[in-house]
């Protein structure tokens, strides 16, 4: 098992990703939830209830900010190599395809997690919520879990779809993670959002034992089960992405 491969890819990608454009994007991802929360507090005369703020912060940071970052950084796992004409150099090495998927995934989640943690660290105190420390660690944990699972899913989409991977990823995020995850039916259990919401409601004590309709949105499973499912998703999706990349067959410009 070559561990240096993914580390090498991650090191190279990190070194070349510190550009003004990328840093500006990171600031936007981290600052966007803070701006909205600050705006709400500025415009609202009364402090909104903690439950509402908790859900808004969860949605803005985990479901929007991190996912947007991952969309930009994890999805082009293959297309960026093909566009940079470096793909052939990578796949002609023994563990090239595996290293590329894992290394790029690592970089994508590092950027997304750092933006998410930064956003949480500023937005939670700015929200004026009554239990900021509790919400902070819960959101940070969900940022990590969400980045892992969403990052793996978007990496898989990037590996499956060479052209227009971003479009397919947006469709997935809007229709599967956006709409299906909030449909009160069994199908929503397959989404990452369902598991994350289940963890949030459990750890923040937002569950109403007598409300069946809400239960359909985040289930009754315990946190250990949900965490295991999310980590399982991550591993499975990454394995599928590696398998797909290993199969090759991507179109490059230089085949004659």
């Amino acid at each position: 098992m070559n561990l240096w491969g993914p580390i090498g890819v991650a090191w190279f990608e990190m070194r070349r990703s510190f550009t003004p454009g990328r840093l500006l994007l990171w600031l936007l991802m981290a600052g966007f939830p803070v701006m909205l929360i600050s705006l709400v507090r500025l415009l609202e005369d009364r402090q909104p209830p903690d439950e509402a703020f908790t859900l808004v912060l969860f949605g803005l940071i985990v479901r929007v900010s991190c996912v947007m970052g991952l969309l930009l950084w994890a999805t082009p796992v293959i297309s960026s190599e093909i566009e940079g004409r470096t793909w052939l150099y990578v796949v002609s090495r023994p563990t090239g395809s595996r290293s590329m998927v894992l290394g790029k995934f690592l970089v994508a989640i590092l950027w997304a997690i750092s933006a998410g943690v930064m956003a949480t660290s500023v937005a939670v105190p700015a929200s004026g919520i009554s239990e900021p420390w509790r919400l902070w660690w819960v959101l940070c944990f969900l940022v990590v879990l969400g980045s892992l699972a969403y990052g793996a899913m978007l990496s898989l989409i990037g590996a499956l779809v060479q052209k227009r991977a971003m479009v397919v990823a947006i469709i997935y995020l809007v229709f599967i993670e956006g709409l299906i995850s909030i449909i009160p039916a069994s199908i929503n259990r397959l989404t990452v959002g369902y598991r994350l919401l289940g963890l949030l409601t459990h750890w923040m004590g937002l569950r109403r034992e007598d409300d069946f309709r809400l239960e359909m949105l985040f289930g009754t499973a315990g946190p250990l089960f949900n965490v295991t499912v999310l980590l399982g998703y991550t591993g499975l999706l990454l394995l599928l992405a590696i398998f797909r990349v290993r199969l090759g067959g991507y179109l490059t410009a230089s085949e004659d």
Binding site: W4, R15, S92, R93, T252
Partner: protein, 322 residues
Amino acid sequence: MELSETGERVPVIELCGLTRLYGTVIGVNDLNLKLDPGCYGLVGPNGAGKTTLIGLLTGSLFPSRGEARIFGANPIQHRSLLSRVGVCPASELLIPRASARDWLVELLMIGGYSFRESHDMAAEALVLTGMKDRMDSPIGSYSLGMRQRVKLAQAIAHDPELLILDEPFNGLDPVGRFEMTELLKEWSSRGKTLILASHVLPEVEAVTDAFILIYGGRLLATGSAHELRAMVNDLPQEITLYGPDVEKLAGRMAEQPWVDSVRLSDDRNRLRIEARLADQLAHHVTCWVAEDNLRIDRMVGADGELASLFEVLTRRHRGYAR
């Protein structure tokens, strides 16, 4: 040289009915070949299938039929074999912000070397290819020739046993071509195997005398220039004579049984001859010119030039020649 379990010599490269199709388009078609260690020129025009063959050899493309083997095994099933191979694809690098050294370190780490080892090996390879002073500058600031050197450096950095270079002379100035030629000669003199793919014959001839000719995805011929000449000696070859007295040769030519056609230009200054037995043709032309004291300024074509051999083989492949 490696030996199989039965004590037989294992070819460095072995192609068994290797075929790759892109839909209905043929990339390479039914290639059969065994290569022992050595330096080979993989020669063919653009679109001949050179890059596809390289992709199949390095496991980055899957064959539609048949099999490619390197060091006795299939590189798709035995990926670890690729650590013994260095590949320099023809495609241009489009990673302008990265430095050459960083890129090589990444590729070496993908190859399984530690960070420190990769740093040292990358620097060594870049020094060897003449990039010592610019290895930490962004690739975007390099000239085309410098990018070619960087591509070569990544291929040789891990000291592979088999080096496959696809159009390595592209973009190099004359000095760069000379340096590249010397580097490749020195590299192959160490008993390693070099496959040098190019569509420019003189570039390949400067490095090696062994050729693999490929056209339309098919293998036209393999061997040294001498062997190839012998192979096509009885095939019609074309030579063109220039000079004020070429008209006087036309009559003599037309009488020879091994001459297929004779064409004289309108200005009677150029004579095009198509003949079999090219060695006899050259011999007779020389004799007649001396006997009749003719003035012939120039003779171009089937005088043993590899270019004309390739042309003849290509024509035979197309069915234009017997």
